[in-house]
Symmetry: C2
Subunit: 377 residues, 2 copies
């Protein structure tokens, strides 16, 4: 089992500071995982990812890696760590979400999901066993089960049926996990995914089903799919309360910096989101004082550093006016700088959250931070 | 005047190793200038440009910088060096070539050229005086005169008329240069541009006209515009013979690695070209053993480093199979790695050329290199 220990708890909230260990290194929580969908954190080279952003763990994607470069290449490479030259921990999403959001002609069946590739229209079938096999080929430190991610809004009846399927698949995932072995020299762990849309009784049922399977960690799926933030917080709050205390809790696909702080308060340990990189490429920058839209004309002659408080080299080296010029000119370097800046900001934010939890004054800090983070500069 | 000194000459060719000094540092020749059209070497951050690629000098572009971000912003920034955070030498092309290749509704007049911006269709006018003013706003260490770049093929009559105009403009450029001062704390130098298409008598006339103006250096323009390589070499050979011995000679827009070596042999000191970055983005990689098309299926499971002989970190850190995956997946990091790799290769190539010139055995080395460079791996 994954060794997860809680180093500190906040005095006034359910926030906790934890740590877990993989064969590729430790992860201190709360943790934000940089998203590296296709085996690369978009626009960021591994040197910056490790030494400047100081990413502890990267998330990659089973669906994407299965389609390209494919498991044969990944196995020949000796796994994704070697393929992408990243020797720290990797978590892989199972592909359930991508099948739902990207592929066409999806057919959900009791034993899995048939879909067509968004790249070339070719037909494929994912079963719980299959996604475990693929993740064995990838060699990720943490694998995720195959689930169905319901959209928002979602009818109760559909959500109930879907959650039931996710629970039955969870059993098959766990079986496949136990009946297979890692292909490389690192241990692999498996997290379950709690579904149930915005319905508390379904979330409760889902947690109960999954807890029986004793996963290494538990994720909350099916949130951050368009529901209001308050609904997301409410369901997170409700669900974390039911989740095992002694296992990492991962809120999938979340979110903006303020969403992350609110969810840490509610007991979440792990996050991933494309916002820092995707929004960065479009010119949105996160700072401790609020959000910057670098395309705005007001930055045209602001030659001050992007953000002197950001730990990244690039945020202190380049000016706002220069970054604005790059983003407006569609220059690749603009995407690079903005992505690095935002990821460094996210990493700093969760590191500070951890410190505040250790000091026992997370909640107070969170309130002042959320206020600042909502500003537009 | 620019201090240019020749440190060594090859025994068996007209190749020479030189050095010149600007207020932003020295440039050893033969030199390849990384192209940073819009104030950024595409996909390459300044940290890698300086410390990994070890670029000595960057070329930027008057036409592009004039349109965006504009001279007002550049002046407020304190010049391009500060704007883009690049403290080594910068040469700026005058924009003559871009007016010819990018803008629409070009009207060539005796006193300058009227054109419409390729960005928004707005009307602008470049005169010799104007491009000097713009380059004063930019603050480049080396400025280029406004010229007309003739296309290939070109009628003799048009080439003659055009060369005459370029010569008359050269006088006006020089006047504007002498009647103006740098805006910042670095000296600026001015290079003339020799035109005359593929006609030797016109090239001779052009050199004669420009030599009278005593520029800091001389460029050969109007080549590498589609003519056969043999024609380019022949005209270069003919023209360098007439050019001042004690000034840098710059062959504009050249070229592939073998073109560069052939031109060094014919007495050229400086080069610039988009090939390493543009072709890199498309998956073409240069190595000492030949050219790689990384999109080719043969690299799909080649996990060896991109090029262990390349001095860049990225060429030894990343594998061919991984770079292929990135380029095929359209990932930004693919463009980044390929651009850095190719630029590092170009810089290494001209550095080696310099060494061979110093050792007096450039020509022999060149013959073996050109053979290898023409291979496709």
């Amino acid at each position: 089992m994954l060794k997860f220990s809680i180093a500190a708890k906040d005095r006034d909230s359910r926030a906790r500071a934890g740590i877990f260990e993989t064969d590729h290194g430790i992860v201190e929580t709360p943790a934000f995982m940089a998203v590296g969908t296709q085996g690369t954190v978009k626009a960021v080279n591994q040197n910056f990812l490790e030494h400047d952003i100081k990413a502890q763990i990267v998330l990659s994607n089973t669906y994407h890696l299965y389609l390209r470069p494919g498991t044969e290449i990944l196995e020949k490479a000796g796994g994704l760590h070697k393929f992408m030259n990243w020797q720290k921990p990797i978590l892989t999403d199972s592909g359930g979400y991508q099948v739902y959001s990207l592929s066409s002609l999806r057919k959900l069946k009791e034993d899995g999901v048939e879909f067509r590739s968004h790249l070339d229209g070719s037909s494929h079938f994912f079963s719980p066993k299959k996604v475990i096999q693929i993740q064995r080929s990838i060699g990720s430190d943490i694998m995720m089960v195959l689930d169905e991610c319901t959209p928002y809004p979602c009818e109760y009846e559909y959500a109930e049926k879907s959650m039931g399927l996710t629970s039955r698949w969870a059993v098959l995932n766990k079986e496949a996990f136990e009946n297979s072995k890692p292909l490389y020299d690192n241990k692999q762990f498996l997290f379950g995914i709690i579904q149930g849309s915005t319905f508390k009784d379904l979330r409760e049922k889902s947690v109960t089903d999954l807890k029986m399977l004793d996963f290494d960690g538990y994720a909350i799926g099916g949130l951050a799919v368009g529901e209001p933030a308050e609904v997301m917080y409410d369901i997170t709050d409700f669900t974390t309360d039911l989740m095992p205390e002694n296992k990492p809790r991962y809120l999938m696909g979340v979110g903006r910096p303020e969403n992350i702080l609110e969810s840490i308060e509610r007991g979440i340990d792990m996050f991933d989101c494309v916002i820092p990189t995707r929004n960065g490429r479009n010119g949105m920058l996160f700072t401790g004082e609020g959000t910057i839209n670098i395309r705005n004309r007001k930055w045209i002659d602001d030659f001050s550093p992007i953000d002197p408080e950001n730990p990244s080299l690039v945020s202190r080296f380049y000016s706002k006016a220069y970054l604005r010029h790059l983003v407006i000119s569609g220059e690749n370097l603009g995407a690079q700088i903005a992505s690095i800046h935002n990821l460094a900001f996210y990493l700093k934010l969760v590191n500070e959250a951890r410190k505040k939890i250790e000091e026992g004054n997370f909640r107070k800090w969170k309130i002042s931070m959320v206020k600042k983070l909502s500003e537009r500069l």
